[in-house]
Assembly symmetry: C2
Homo-oligomer: 153 residues x 2
């Protein structure tokens, strides 16, 4: 791969540009967060997010179309059939996006709040943190890295 | 700290909610990306992003108000005074948000694009990757973790 000057980098090729085209809005990001908190039903998304029915329906349609969510039908005994929404693999892979927003929020925006949301290991109490590591596995700080554009092939 | 059930977690305390309130929109995220690519001047943001003057001015005002960007005046010989915009520490700390969006985009959305954007070490060519690690430093996979709410104090 050939390194290219950032001025020659076609912004429409940019992975950040393409990602924000699919999930770069508040509701989509908050719906994905709700999924990571265990929410699955339309009415629960609605009450946890305080979002209108029509906006939520639109956003969910878009997340289904982009294969970030998938719809599953289920039926409990004596109940009408219902739908629930779960993250696909692609959707689950947004966990680092949600966690990076969470860590930034915890650092800068939640000083006065009475509750805390953080990452813990499923087994145990220990808290995880997000780090950038080199291919050899050593930790990289912000000052150690840069975004670099390449010509493919 | 006392662990609380996620149903009792006040979503207005949520760090993700607060983060997306400041940067959960396409333009804000793309302006921050441009900063990481080295863009500093209003006209360069405008041409690199293909954004209208008034929308860009609004977004920059908001990012200044939220102390994500700071404005610096400078003057080159024989030129009128000009402004440039740089990330504050708070803004620079969005690098993991941008990189997580980038890695997700590279994995799912840029298959056909002729160019690539990635993280490299400033010294050298090696590519970095984003990982979640435990407090003891061992890597955590998505399946190893959960988001957990606590009551502070």
């Amino acid at each position: 791969m050939k390194r290219i000057d950032i001025q020659d980098f076609d912004r429409s090729s940019c992975p950040v540009f393409r990602s924000v085209g699919e999930i770069g809005d508040r509701w989509s990001l908050l719906i994905v967060r709700e999924c990571f908190l265990g929410t699955r039903r339309f009415d629960d998304f609605r009450s946890n997010l305080g979002i209108s029915k029509s906006v939520l329906a639109n956003k969910i349609q878009q997340l289904l179309a982009d294969q970030i969510l998938e719809k599953r039908e289920y039926q409990e005994p004596q109940q009408r059939p219902r739908s629930e929404y779960r993250l696909t693999h692609k959707g689950k892979d947004l966990y680092l996006v949600i966690i990076s927003l969470m860590e930034w929020g915890n650092k800068y925006l939640t000083a006065g709040s009475p509750q805390l949301l953080t990452v813990t290991e499923r087994q145990g109490e220990a808290v995880g943190h997000l780090h950038l590591v080199s291919e050899q596995g050593h930790p990289l700080e912000r000052k150690d890295i840069q975004l670099t554009a390449f010509e493919k092939g």
